[in-house]
Structure formats: structure tokens, C-alpha cells
């Protein structure tokens, strides 16, 4: 197959042999090891857990380690580039700092009231809050949703689907003590109110999470807080 790899502004063409069950990450690794050792890319676990290998493949953001070539090949051709909406360090490697800084800005860290001297908190798996947290908790921080989001490309201050999904899982965590502060952090035109419900994040999330649903939950929670005068 023909593989075009975006390197800076240019596309470099490679001829890569096809194999059964070949992944896009296999293709990039073949190019780096057999054809051009100067190609820069990032990966770690190779099994869909670490979230480090996401790239743009034939126009759409994807986790490359779990994307089979068979599923995305068009006319025996692949075009591979870095993730959109993030600064490119080199070739296929993006700078994820801004992406993760936004998690912090969205109040993405847990703060509980218990110490190690207290007993475990007991949260029923069937409770509404636990089910809401479960729906978003499997995020691996790959940045696919962030790259898929048009609002991020239009409004660079927008916190983005991953950070807001994280905020929503914490809003659904009954042990967390920072609910009021977090709602203040995610409200406004750089937060949940910027989302237009395009659902590109939900469409592309490799873990089948719906950040759109979480963002809608945040909008409702912020509205309730505003009406109570707590915002």
C-alpha cells in the first residue's frame, strides 16, 4: 500500500507491505524501523490503554494501535498526520501540555474529605451518580476527541471534551468536595457553554465515551447552581 506521512507542511510517500491484522501503528513503526529512522512518532503500550499513539488517519483522529489498516484503507492508500488542534513538535508528535493543562483548569483533580484513618467510602454500583461516573471514567487521555472538536479549532481557549468529561465524572463522584468550585471553573464561553453538541467527540472516542452527554450534564448542573445563587 501507499502511505503518505505528513512531515511539517509536506507529505512524504512510503511503500509499505500489507499483513493480516496489521494496525496503523504497525505501519508507522515499519516506516521508522525499515524505511526512515528519522520519523518521529509516539507510542507506549500498543494495546489501547496509554492514550499516547493517537494520530490523524485518512482525515479522522484515531488511536493507531487499535485501528486495523483494513478498516481505514482507501484506494490502497493511507494518509497519516499529527492530531489536529495541538502544536506539532515534530512529524507525528504533538505537544499535549495545553490539552492536559485544560484538565487542571476544568477542576480535573479529585479532592475528598476522608483521610487514610477513615473507613472506605461505600458507593453503590447501581446508584445514579456511580452510573454517571462509570459512563465517562474510562477515558485514556488520548486527545482524539480534542482533535475531532471544531469548537476547539474556533475557540482555542475552550476546555474541550476530554477536560469537561473529566469534570463531569468528578461532579458525579459523591466523595468529591469540590463541586461548587468545579462548576465555576467549567461555566462560561471557554467551558461547557461553548459546546454546540456537534458530537464529533462522541463519534470519534475510541473508548465509546460520550463527552457530549457529560457536557450536557455540566450545563444542567451549572444552571441549577446559578438559580440557587451558588455560581
Amino acid at each position: 500500500m501507499k502511505v503518505f506521512v505528513k512531515r511539517g507542511e509536506a507529505l512524504q510517500e512510503f511503500e509499505v507491505p500489507r499483513h493480516p491484522s496489521q494496525t496503523v501503528l504497525d505501519v508507522v513503526t515499519y516506516i521508522q524501523r525499515a524505511l526512515d529512522p528519522t520519523l518521529a512518532y509516539r507510542f507506549a503500550c500498543r494495546v489501547g490503554m496509554c492514550g499516547s499513539c493517537a494520530m490523524t488517519v485518512n482525515g479522522a483522529p484515531r488511536w493507531t494501535c487499535r485501528t486495523h489498516v483494513d478498516r481505514v484503507l482507501k484506494d490502497e492508500t493511507l494518509e497519516i498526520g499529527p492530531l489536529r488542534n495541538l502544536p506539532v513538535i515534530r512529524d507525528l508528535v504533538t505537544d499535549m501540555r495545553g490539552f492536559f493543562d485544560k484538565w487542571e483548569r476544568a477542576g480535573g483533580h479529585f479532592e475528598g474529605a476522608r483521610t487514610r484513618h477513615d473507613d472506605f467510602a461505600r458507593v453503590s454500583p447501581a446508584s445514579r451518580e456511580r452510573e454517571a461516573a462509570d459512563a465517562g471514567i474510562e477515558c485514556i487521555g488520548c486527545g482524539v476527541c480534542y482533535a475531532a472538536c471544531d469548537v476547539v479549532s474556533w475557540n482555542p481557549d475552550y476546555l474541550g471534551p476530554a477536560a469537561l468529561n473529566r469534570a463531569w465524572t468528578l461532579m458525579s463522584d459523591v466523595r468529591d468536595t469540590q463541586h461548587a468550585q468545579r462548576l465555576r471553573a467549567v461555566a462560561g464561553d471557554a467551558g461547557c457553554h461553548a459546546c454546540h453538541t456537534h458530537m464529533s467527540c462522541t463519534e470519534r472516542c475510541p473508548k465509546h465515551i460520550s463527552p457530549t452527554a457529560g457536557i450536557a450534564g455540566l450545563k444542567r448542573a451549572v444552571a441549577k447552581a446559578a438559580m440557587k445563587g451558588d455560581l
Partner: protein, 112 residues
Amino acid sequence: MSRKFETGLWIAQRASAGVLALCVVVHLGTIVYAVRGGLSAAEILGRTRGNSGWLAFYSVFVLAVAIHAPIGLRPVLAEWLAWRGRSREVFALAFALLLWWTGMRAVLTVFG
């Protein structure tokens, strides 16, 4: 300030969308019902002139439009034209007043 303002606008847009959903259904339903056998301008004016119920309904309709549309216009201006800040808010407010004024002018003309 921004978060309270944006949240207030979000609530206003949702509430006005609810009103519009009802108003549009009643508006279209009335049109379809009223023109079944053909309808002249004189007949329309005969029904609307001096009809307070009709005036109240379309005053609410116009108000909901004047609230809903400018709020939706704000992100379009920001995302397509990178127009943010106070001047955009003034423009959105002016657009709201324009919609309300032209809408009410039409309503009052048909009522009076």
C-alpha cells in the same frame, strides 16, 4: 461575571427555545387550518384586528425570537469572525432590539 452572564444567556436561550417550539407549532398549525379553503388579506385582517388573544400570542412569539436569535448569533460571530468583547455584546443587543421592533411593528400593524 462571564460565567454568570453566559449561564444566564444559556438559560434564556433554552427557555425561549421552549416557548418557540410551542409558538411555531401553533403558528404553522393555524396557517394550515386557516387557508384550507383559500384566504384573502381582507379575511386575515378581519380575524386579527382588535383580537387581543392574537396580539398576546404574537407578542410572546416576537419576544422569544428577539431573545433566542441574538444569543445564538454571539458564538457565530466569535467563531467565524473572531469578534468578541463588548462591541459584540452591543451588536447582539442591537440585533435583539431590531428583531423585537420590526416584529412588534408587524404585529401591531396587523392588529390595529
